[in-house]
Amino acid sequence: MVARKRGKDALWQARELSLAGLLGALGLLLPVGFHALGWGGKIFLPMHLPIVAAGFVLGPATAAGLGLVVPLLSLALTGMPPLPLAPLMSVELMVKAGVASLLYRVLRLPIWIALPVALVADWVVLALAVLLAAGFLNIKAGALAYVAAVIVAGLPGTALQLAAVPAAVAAIERRLPRLALKRGKQ
């Protein structure tokens, strides 16, 4: 019985890891596609789309880890996002995906509550991270103006997330019904 349960856990873990890998890969490839078409990454936030979707289909730890890793890996592989932005994006995506997963998969809130809360949590953490970085680098001017500019510039991307993420999550749950079942059991 114990061995069977362990086998099931290993299968669940293997599937979660491979799904995380493929969604993370989408997080690397979508920005490349957007840049190839000449569409601004800062405006449409293409990297956020699969990572936020990952928050709704993966466990909180895996989702947060994915959010932390993808911008840094993208920086290492493609040189984008540029270095001052990559660590900030890592923190942002880690919190966004982690909060989304916590609210949707653990607390079982509906997606139309979990997604906006995750977006707001992202902005709050971005502001805190920028203020902290500015304090550490002894930069006294312009930190909050920068945060405001980033949020306003990314509003089309935020709208895109609000429209596309629920559709993507529904599509994934349709393909993998076990995710919806697992959420129901938790």
Binding site: A14, L75, L83, A168
Partner: protein, 239 residues
């Protein structure tokens, strides 16, 4: 296929041959030094740029390549620097510090990525207990990129054949349809990969290649580089 994205440049140089762990130690020391180094007086920052120059020479990294790869960072930090000319002294100094530190860190990172393969770097970070899980996740992502790149290339070819002169509306619809299809296919494929992993003996812990010990000389060079950077920045900041 990941080679199409990798920033690694195949070349015969001392820095290419150096152990990845020694390079990571050198980079961490350099980044910390760049963060704490003051921009007034200017000599600590100049020393760090000098050390970066040493890295370029020993890695045989063409300066033009580095300039091209840090161009985005230069543009990102250049605009605030330009705008700050019309601001007060505080704003000017802040923009200057931001620009210098960003360029130093970005250039050092680019030198590392130009002289080290990503898979070797992930392997090295995977041996650190704190980073093991994240490194494993990153390795899964790299494999996922290889899988999805094949899909993307096929989709792109089909797209180019069917609509070579597509207008913006068609492009948007095409990209949306391709993205949704990619998400669905990625999800279905992840199930098959997971089942294959378990069949091959995955029990929840990830296998790791046996560790090879880094050469003492490489480690000594990495530590010396880090200490030199930190010393220059520390003396500049606290004297």
């Amino acid at each position: 296929m990941i080679g199409h994205f990798d920033l690694y440049m195949r070349r015969e140089s001392a820095l290419h041959r150096m152990d990845e762990r020694a390079k990571i130690i050198a980079l961490v020391g350099f980044v910390l030094a760049a963060l704490i180094a003051p921009t007034r007086p200017v000599w600590p920052a100049c020393t760090l740029f000098g050390l970066l120059g040493l890295g370029l020479v020993f890695g045989r990294v063409p300066p033009l390549l580095l300039a091209r790869r840090t161009l985005l960072v230069a543009l990102f930090v250049g605009l605030p620097l330009l705008v700050s000319r019309w601001g007060g002294e505080d704003a000017r100094l802040a923009a200057e510090a931001f620009a210098v530190k960003s360029l130093l860190v970005a250039a050092a990172f680019m030198v590392l990525m130009t002289t080290t393969r990503t898979v070797d770097l992930l392997d090295a970070t995977g041996r650190l207990p704190l980073l093991r899980g994240l490194s494993a996740l990153a390795q899964f992502i790299v494999r996922g990129v290889n899988v999805l790149l094949g899909e993307v290339v096929r989709t792109y070819r089909a797209w180019a054949l069917r609509a070579p002169r597509a207008n913006l509306q068609l492009r948007v619809r095409g990209l949306a349809a391709a993205s949704v299809s990619l998400v669905g296919r990625a999800a279905a494929r992840s199930d098959r990969i997971g089942a294959a992993m378990v069949l091959r003996g995955f029990d929840g812990s990830l296998p790791q290649a046996p560790a090879r010990s880094p050469a003492a000389a490489h480690l000594a060079i990495g530590v010396a580089f880090a200490m030199l950077s930190l010393a220059a920045a520390g003396i500049g900041r606290w004297t």
